[in-house]
Amino acid sequence: MADPISSPPRVLSAAAFLKLAASLGIVLLGCSLSWDSWPAAGALLAVTFAALAFAGFTLKALARRLALFLPVITLVAISIPLSQGFTASWMQLAGTVIIRGAVSFLAGLWLIRVLPFDSLLSTLYALRLPAVVVASLAMMHRYLFVLWEETSRLRIARKARCLGRQNRIAQWMAGIGMVGMLVIRSLDRGHRIHRAMLARGWDGHIRPWP
């Protein structure tokens, strides 16, 4: 398991590697789809949906997530006919972009469900990702939710303060202040963590431990 302070042995778990490879494989296949390859697209989507069902996703859960994702990919795709003209061929290209993006999105959902983040880091480390990258990632992961909570509290406080004035300028200034506070607090915390690491003998070398 990956950690900010110790590194796992460089042992590749076959199961984890296969899951990563399978997800990548689906994305590669999906991104090679074209407007004419309808049967292939259908088969690929069927396989992906089956895998998702097997991993425990209900149709309702999938629909909800797709509903959040589809506007994003559509916005990206629409830039094509918007700039090139709303002809059949450009609309088809836009459609292809949407399908490709959706397949990749679904493959990503599956991977996150079947491969926990720690296993992913261990697998990448076994594939020669540098220890300092894995450790920094693990440190980020460790404090991500702490910062997320702090930021949520700041946002609520801002909403409470700006309730009377929906003034955009006031909101931007408050937002800048929030990010600024986040920066100062986080950097100070980073320095304190570094000090705590030094206090227990840290010298920058990430030592291996299972």
């Binding site: 398991m1 990956a2 950690d3 900010p4 302070i5 110790s6 720690d118 693990a138 440190m139 992961h141 460790r142 404090y143 939710f145 702490v146 915390r189 304190r192 963590i193 000090r195 705590a196 690491m197 030094l198 206090a199 227990r200 003998g201 840290w202 010298d203 920058g204 070398h205 030592r207 431990w209 299972p210």
Partner: protein
Amino acid sequence: MALIPAARLAPPPNTSPPPTPSPAERPQAMTTAVAIEVRRLTFAYSGGSNVLTDVSFSVSPGERIALLGPSGAGKSTLLLHLNALLPDPPPADFETDSAGVLIDGLPATAQNANPIRRRVGLLFQNPEDQLFGSTVGRDVAFGPLNLGLDAAEVQARVEQALNDVGLDEFADRDTVRLSLGERKRACLAGVLACQPGCLVLDEPFANLDPRGRRRLSDILTLFNGTLLLATHDLDAVRELADRILVLDDGRLCADGPTDTILQDKQLLTQHGLVA
């Protein structure tokens, strides 16, 4: 002396494989209590006024001392000096009669930083800053790993330390999902796993409920090395400390046996220790 932004520190001499401590430096199986000497210590952060002014005291091995003082007195700053964390970076050399900190006779220089940190275990004020591993077990293992111990010894140290603080089943628990009391004890385990000869604690009882306080106090009673405790909790002081140092506005104002100091109401009021 000042805290200098990261990039101005000298780069490490080389990037060869991690050094393992030589046999002579390896920690002893039993902890030997540590002596502290603070000699005319004066310190200011860059661009600021003095946080500590001419502080001097000595601690014999095995003594148990409480450091009292109002907020802003400089207690935390003083404690950081005991682990060669201030000044940052530590001085390169030390004249025989210089002002500064000596741990077991070792002056707090850059060269002695690691040996000092092995002898003195520092528990910081905020456990969130000190518990940076992903699980409790991995966090407690951090110190022993840095000491160069092998996997079996690290495992033994972790188990012992978790046992000492009453968190035996917590080795695989996520550090994000702990109560405050559990967090403090996990941090203490992390420090105890290094088997220091001296424990220095910065406000360990802050925000703890009575049960948490009791638990922590019991653990500290069992520690048989030197103990230095910065706290506002006068009950804990009575239980744990033989001697009290009073710090106010960066100066040492009083140094005496616990009973004497705690009976001196005028002293306590003058320095904001009682309402």
